[in-house]
Structures are given as structure tokens and as C-alpha cells.
Symmetry: C2
Subunit: 204 residues, 2 copies
DNA sequence: TCGTTGTTTAACCGTATTGTTAGTTTTGAC
DNA sequence: GTCAAAACTAACAATACGGTTAAACAACGA
């Protein structure tokens, strides 16, 4: 079955690229097959439908996202340091998967039925991190270490700044007239800047 | 020509809704015609192609965005106040056009050729505001009123926080378990929070 | 009333896309 | 080597979509 495994893997890899770039609705199974170097009937032979193939890719990507966040928040250090580490880790994850945010936003926005299926898949693995951050935030506020803030606002600001760094990059490139080297520098600076923005908000 | 004007207007309104919701590639001319209550041949009679109809909608939306930003920045007041006003005005615009950011991001991300055509259309009207903010920012920094900051970082943070408030709303709703009333409150709080985040970054 | 012009309809064309199927080749256990 | 199961191919089916066209219809001034 070595031959079959190779074909399946080739389809999966081509599907990931195609789905991430274009989203479910715009991805073509024929193009996935072409990129994988197989007949498009093979795609149906191994995965039955486009939907099932998509779901496999989506679940894997969401699992990756959740894993990358779960590990970073440990309660031994000062709260400000923990927040900086969390924001940095999230930035690094998005930097390593720059197509993923737009991919997820697109799928979530498309239609209600799809949202109801895939949104819980995305959010469930994040709940543990959210509630842990919430606890630490309240404790730090009680100790007077930080300016008080809603957990939802803190988390949302971190995610917004980091995600937009990559989702909005083409616009920033045009708006600020950046060449490729400028872009590289801009992204690197954004990592520090996003963290600094969040920490500034927390300082008394 | 009264009859024709009405048909044209009905198509334009249906097209705006369809394009904003689904983007160019996923919008169906047949669906636009159905929603407008006319034969889909009428769409081609008035606008020739899907592309031309789309461009009309896109240009109008971009014009709207640029207008809403150009007016808010006047140099008479303290810099911090000006920034707060700009961020607030941008937030209000996005709140009044909640589908627009996702629409623009989708189109910009889709393919290179399209990006090259539509991105300058979007960015050109913003240049005046960007350079004016840049001048005021440098002046305020020289006067020691604020912590120094790159113009691109300031503008990008404002846009990121405001845009994501609406683009990421479905995810936030699920992640923080909000009902419709919570969502209303969250959005209202986000306006103040986004401004506060930006101002915190500027304070010495 | 006639004819011109602009508007509308229904039918059609070509193409692309997801999915199926019947039949062929390859593989691996015996 | 044989044979059954797995892997694969090529052709087809069904539908949907953007766009065209020819003919019908309405408005309206001469």
C-alpha cells in the first residue's frame, strides 16, 4: 500500500495549499488533483467529497493553532511577562502560518451553516487559555500590578494586532510604499510594537 | 427612461449586497438578478459584464471610506485629541459599514492581478491623511508631548483594532460566549478600548 | 398611426466543476 | 504463478454559471 499512501499524501498537501489560498468555495478539486499530479477521480477515491477533504485540512490547522497557544502561558512569572510571552508566541505562530488567519476568517464569514460547524472547532481548544489568562489578570489587578482590563479586551487586542499584521500586510505595503526589504523589517518591528502596545495598556 | 432607471438601481442595490457578502468570485450574477427582480440578461444589458458591475460598487465603497477619514484630522487641537478623534471616526465608519473591511480584505487577498488594480484605488485617497498624521506626530514628539512612534505603526494599530472588532466579531462571540446583547455592549466598549489602547501607547 | 428608439424576455451557447462508473493495471498474499 | 483486492484511468453525467442573441414589447415624438 506504499503507492496509495504516497498518492493520499500528495493530495493532502496540494489540498492544503489550495484551500488555504482560496478557501473552500473557490478551491477547485481539479486544480488540487493537477497540483498533486494525479487524476481528479483519485481525490474522490481517497476522500469521497471535497467537503470531507476540506474538513480534514481545517481540523488539522485548528489543532495546530490551539496547540501553539496552550503551552505558552505558565503562571510562575510576573503577569506582564506572561502577557508578553503569550502575545509573542501568538505572533510567531501567525508568522509561521501567514495564510491561516485569512483562511479562517473567510470560512467563518461565508455562511451561517458552515460557521456553526467550524466555529466551535476553532474556539473550544482556546477556552483553557482564555480562562487561565482571566484568572491571572484578576489576580494581578488585585495586587495592583496593572491597570484593570476585561479579559476579552486584552485577548481581542492581542489577536487583532497580530492577525492584522499579516492579513493587512498587502494594504500596508501599498499605503506606506514599502519594498520587500521594508516589509521584512515592518513585520519584525510589528512583533515588538504589538507587544509594547498591549503592555502600555496594562501599565499603571 | 423612468422604467430603465428603476431597473438599473435595483440591480445596483442587489449587486452591492451580493458582492459585499460573498466577494466578486463567489457572487452570482444570476442571484443578483433574482434579488433585483429582473432577468439576468438585464444585468448584462445595463452593465455589460460582472466585472464592470463589480468595479462600480467597489469604487463607490472605497470613495466612502476615504471621505470618512479625510475630514476628521484638523491640526488645531492637541495631538492626542486628534488621534482619538481619528480613531473614533474610523471606528464609527467601520461600524456603519461592518461588511466592508472583510469585503476589501477578501478582494485584496484573492489574486495578484486584481490586487494591482484595486489596491491603488483604495490607498491613494488615504495618502493625504497618512502624511498629515505623520507631520503632526513628529511635531508632537519634538515638543515632548508623546512617546515617539513610527507613523506606520500608529496608523496600522488603529486600523487593526477597529477593523478586527467587526471582522473578528463572530469568533469573539463564540469564544467569550456572548449573546446578542453582550455583542452590542462589546462593540460599544471596543470603541473606547481601542482609543485607550492607542493613547496609552502614546503617553510618556 | 407610424416608426424609431430604448427596454425586456426567453432561449441558447460554451465552459467549468463536482461527482460517478465501468473497466484496466498493479500489488501482494498464498 | 494465481487470484483477489487495491489503485488507477478515461470517459461520462449533471449542473451551474457568465455571456449572447434574436425577437417581442413599450414609449413617444412626428
Amino acid at each position: 500500500m506504499g503507492r496509495g499512501d504516497h498518492t493520499e499524501q500528495a493530495i493532502l498537501e496540494a489540498a492544503e495549499a489550495e484551500f488555504l489560498e482560496k478557501g473552500f468555495a473557490l478551491a477547485k478539486t481539479t486544480e488540487i488533483a493537477r497540483a498533486a499530479g494525479v487524476t481528479h477521480a483519485m481525490l474522490h477515491y481517497y476522500f469521497r467529497t471535497k467537503e470531507k477533504l476540506f474538513e480534514r485540512i481545517f481540523r488539522e490547522k485548528v489543532r495546530l493553532l490551539a496547540e501553539s497557544l496552550a503551552a505558552t502561558f505558565d503562571s510562575g512569572r510576573p503577569f506582564m511577562e506572561q502577557v508578553a510571552a503569550l502575545a509573542g508566541a501568538h505572533f510567531d505562530f501567525v508568522a509561521a502560518n501567514p495564510c491561516l488567519p485569512m483562511f479562517i476568517l473567510r470560512e467563518i464569514h461565508l455562511n451561517k451553516e458552515r460557521r456553526e460547524v467550524y466555529l466551535p472547532l476553532l474556539v473550544a481548544p482556546l477556552q483553557a487559555t482564555i480562562s487561565e489568562v482571566g484568572k491571572q489578570l484578576e489576580a494581578a489587578a488585585r495586587r495592583g500590578e496593572i491597570r484593570s482590563l476585561r479579559t476579552s479586551d486584552l485577548m481581542f487586542s492581542i489577536a487583532s494586532l497580530n492577525v492584522m499584521t499579516f492579513v493587512g500586510l498587502p494594504i500596508a505595503k501599498e499605503a506606506f510604499g514599502m519594498d520587500d526589504e521594508d516589509v521584512r523589517q515592518f513585520v519584525a518591528q510589528r512583533r515588538a510594537e504589538n507587544i509594547e502596545v498591549v503592555l502600555s495598556r496594562l501599565r499603571k
